[in-house]
């Protein structure tokens, strides 16, 4: 067990840090949260800058056009970007973290040539069409139909929780090509071009007021067979393969952000006088211990990925613990705001020390509610730990023969 970084790792960090220092001040102003075309432009411009500097696809293998960095370098990359408050991956999320890795692993040479470079360069944006209104935790029950007709699949059905659908060029789409009851054995993985006739998008507004999600309705949409990744009816396995690209760094930025938020909450408590309450101090102390432990768990998971090349079980432990800790942090901050938390506006404090940080804290609290739901609810995660890690008997039907539940897109 060694927590010291090697000279090479420190050199990587140093170069990245100086690149961020020179690059970030030149970024255009951030677009408003609801301006999706503006956000696409902003996020893809950032991706282009990363690409030009050789940092695009930090977690992609060299054969896919990535930098072939080690898991530890990937950890450093995400740590430095968060510390420098660099832009988030944003609309590039699905392309970089899901669709791209899937095509690297399972795509044809032609599909790789066609689709991978534009993801890395920020030219094309992807979204995800996995979940359906009636197929959430039980994804293998999805019913969107893909019927073979000559060189096309004719796809009809609906998808939900599709982030960035409005500005996406392509969608990674899971459709049922097998019998109705074929579950995970009858699913195919398709590349859908979003401007194909018959695709209708209906935005969903979250309880946080954000609009990144959409429902997609597909009415006899034609998808060329050439856009199928992997074999027909083998889409479930194709989706699973993608998971092997996760190297324990998925939440690095979020975790460091949480540590920063805890500091802000403590500063607020000191300002309001709440810090003299031992109950408040102890809650803060607990949160500190938990966040530090999750940072240690992250390093353990990354180290394991570096040793074995595959993600261990630690990712599931991490997600369960992190999402609940982060929610407690949100509740803690909101309680500290008191009545200033009745609006997400940074109103001036009476102590003349400037605005109270209500915007960040209220938003963080309400967004945090999604953490125990998105990318596999905490209940499903507990089933995974119980069944696949501890070896307890399975639920009667829920995971019926499935090797592993896919990790759904994070928001």
């Amino acid at each position: 067990m060694d927590l010291r970084y090697t000279d090479a790792e420190q050199a990587f960090r140093g170069e990245l840090r100086s690149w961020l220092e020179t690059t970030l001040p030149g970024l255009p102003p951030k677009p408003s949260p609801h301006d999706w075309p503006g956000r696409r432009t902003y996020d893809t411009h950032w991706q282009r800058l990363l690409f030009d500097a050789g940092y695009a696809g930090i977690d992609w293998p060299v054969e896919g056009g990535g930098s072939g960095s080690s898991p530890v370098e990937e950890l450093i990359f995400k740590e430095e970007l968060e510390r420098a408050r660099a832009p988030y991956v944003g609309v590039n999320f699905v392309g970089l973290l899901h669709a791209g890795p899937t095509i690297i692993a399972e795509g044809t040479p032609e599909q790789r040539r066609r689709f991978l470079p534009p993801i890395l360069q920020g030219d094309e944006v992807w979204c995800q069409g996995f979940s359906e209104p009636d197929a959430g935790s039980d994804l293998a029950s999805l019913r969107t139909r893909g019927v073979r007709d000559g060189d096309d699949y004719v796809v009809t059905g609906s998808k939900i929780w599709t982030s960035h659908a409005e500005v996406a060029d392509y969608c990674e789409l899971l459709v049922r090509t097998g019998a109705d009851d074929s579950r995970h054995r009858g699913i195919s993985w398709l590349i859908l071009t979003m401007d194909t006739p018959g695709v209708e998008i209906r935005p969903l507004t979250t309880i946080a007021g954000s609009t990144e999600f959409a429902e997609i309705f597909l009415d006899e949409v034609r998808v060329p067979v050439a856009n199928r990744v992997g074999e027909e009816n083998d889409g479930w396995r194709v989706t699973m393969v993608t998971l092997s690209f996760e190297r324990g760094t998925a939440f690095v930025g979020d975790l460091l952000e949480a540590i920063e938020l805890l500091s802000s909450a403590v500063a607020l408590a000191q300002r309001t006088g709440a810090w003299s309450d031992p109950g408040v101090r102890r809650q803060a102390g607990h949160l500190r211990a938990e966040l530090d432990a999750l940072w240690a768990l992250t390093k353990r998971n990354v180290s394991q990925a570096a040793r074995t090349g595959i993600p261990g079980v630690g990712g599931t432990f991490f997600k369960l613990a992190y999402s609940e800790t982060r929610q407690r942090l949100g509740e803690f901050s909101l309680a500290l705001l008191g009545r200033a938390g009745l609006a997400a506006d940074d109103i001036e404090g009476l102590d003349l020390e400037g605005p109270l940080p209500a915007e960040t804290m209220v938003e963080d609290w309400i967004r945090g509610i999604s953490l125990t739901i998105a990318a596999g609810t905490s209940q499903i995660q507990r089933n995974i730990v119980g069944e696949r890690i501890l070896g307890l008997p399975k639920e009667p039907v829920s995971t019926d023969g499935a090797e592993r539940e896919p990790t759904r897109q994070r928001t």
């Binding site: 768990l297 940080p357 008997p393």
Partner: protein, 338 residues
């Protein structure tokens, strides 16, 4: 950076696990020969021979010269085996008290009440664990460490110890004792003692998880194993998560003590002890719950781990004090942050 166990570290832990399974099986550990003494002297020597006490002592002082990280891995295994006795105290005393390093002397330790800290001084007299087994009792305070002859104390054994494997005595007051170390050593002991106690806790947390999972697979109700019901499955999943998170915290704390430039060791140690105590206590409790009625009997050893976890949670930092010290560190680093 590689935060996985090295091959040597994994082998070390495995070796101690095998030693415990062979020499200190639970059926023997749970039935000590007397209610006053739980340390098996020959066994204690074996632990000494295995390096449990002199692991961190420098080689020139006759020790093994390893770091706190290795010691934490060893203590995790001792915790998993529910081994009773003043293990942490004797480890700390190695090098300072003759014979502690090879297990020929059993050293115990108690925190001297601090009149400046009313929550510690309070109304509760001094409670001493394992006094009947001790050759020497060490008194720990901010100013240093002093040694006392256990036989010289006016101590009363309490008839109904909470943990049957941790006999306790009460003394009205502690003597001055003979100074054996100064404030610097005392601070080290508090830090390393917290890490090793936390290591015992995560060993127990892991063990109670396994015990609960095993039972949940075997016990059948409503025609199937109870582990198939989410209500039980999720209890077990939470036990596993708690253990793993706390385990990483304890390992990181130990490594941070060994490699001081990677972080603030005192913060890491306080957080690790806090989470390890919580994991051991909560898992002990859940283990009893999963066992249902049988968990409330002496037939099932779950209660031993739960009770021991409660004992260890009072040593080397309690929940309130640990959380408070973490809060202090936040207050210092948080100043100026908006």
């Amino acid at each position: 950076m590689d935060f996985e166990l090295t091959e040597f570290q994994a082998d070390l832990a495995e070796g101690v696990r095998r030693l415990c399974a062979g020499q200190f099986p639970l059926e023997q550990v749970r039935l000590p020969e007397s209610t006053e003494r739980v340390v098996d002297r020959a066994g204690w020597r074996q632990l000494g021979d295995a390096g449990v006490f002199n692991l961190c002592l420098a080689e020139e002082a006759g020790g093994v010269g390893l770091g706190l990280a290795e010691a934490a891995l060893v203590f995790e295994e001792l915790g998993r085996a529910l081994l009773p006795g003043p293990l942490v105290a004797s480890h700390l005393a190695a090098g300072l008290i003759d014979g502690a390093d090879d297990g020929s002397v059993v050293a115990g330790l108690v925190e001297r009440p601090d009149p400046d800290r009313p929550e510690a001084a309070g109304v509760v007299p001094v409670i001493i664990e394992h006094l009947g087994d001790l050759d020497v009792l060490l008194l720990l305070s901010d100013t240093g460490v002093a040694s006392v002859d256990p036989a010289s104390l006016d101590a009363t054994r309490l008839k109904r110890p909470m943990d049957p494997l941790t006999p306790v005595w009460v003394v009205p007051e502690l003597p001055e004792g003979t100074p054996v170390a100064g404030p610097e050593i005392a601070a080290w002991w508090r830090r390393d003692g917290a890490v090793l106690t936390a290591a015992l806790q995560i060993g127990m947390a892991a063990w109670t998880t396994e015990l609960a999972v095993e039972y949940a697979k075997q016990r059948r109700q409503f025609g199937r194993p109870i582990g198939g019901f989410q209500a039980i499955k999720h209890l077990c999943a939470d036990m596993a998560v708690r253990t793993e998170v706390a385990r990483c915290a304890v390992h990181a704390a130990a490594v941070t003590v060994d490699q001081p430039d990677v972080g603030d060791a005192l913060v890491a140690v306080a957080g690790a002890k806090l989470l390890a105590d919580e994991a051991a206590v909560a898992n002990g409790r859940s283990c009893i719950q999963v066992h249902g009625g049988m968990g409330f009997t002496w037939e099932v050893p779950a209660h031993l781990a739960y009770k021991r976890a409660r004992v260890l949670a009072t040593e080397f930092g309690t929940e309130g004090a640990l959380a408070e010290s973490l809060a202090e560190s936040l207050a210092e680093s948080g100043r100026g942050v908006r």
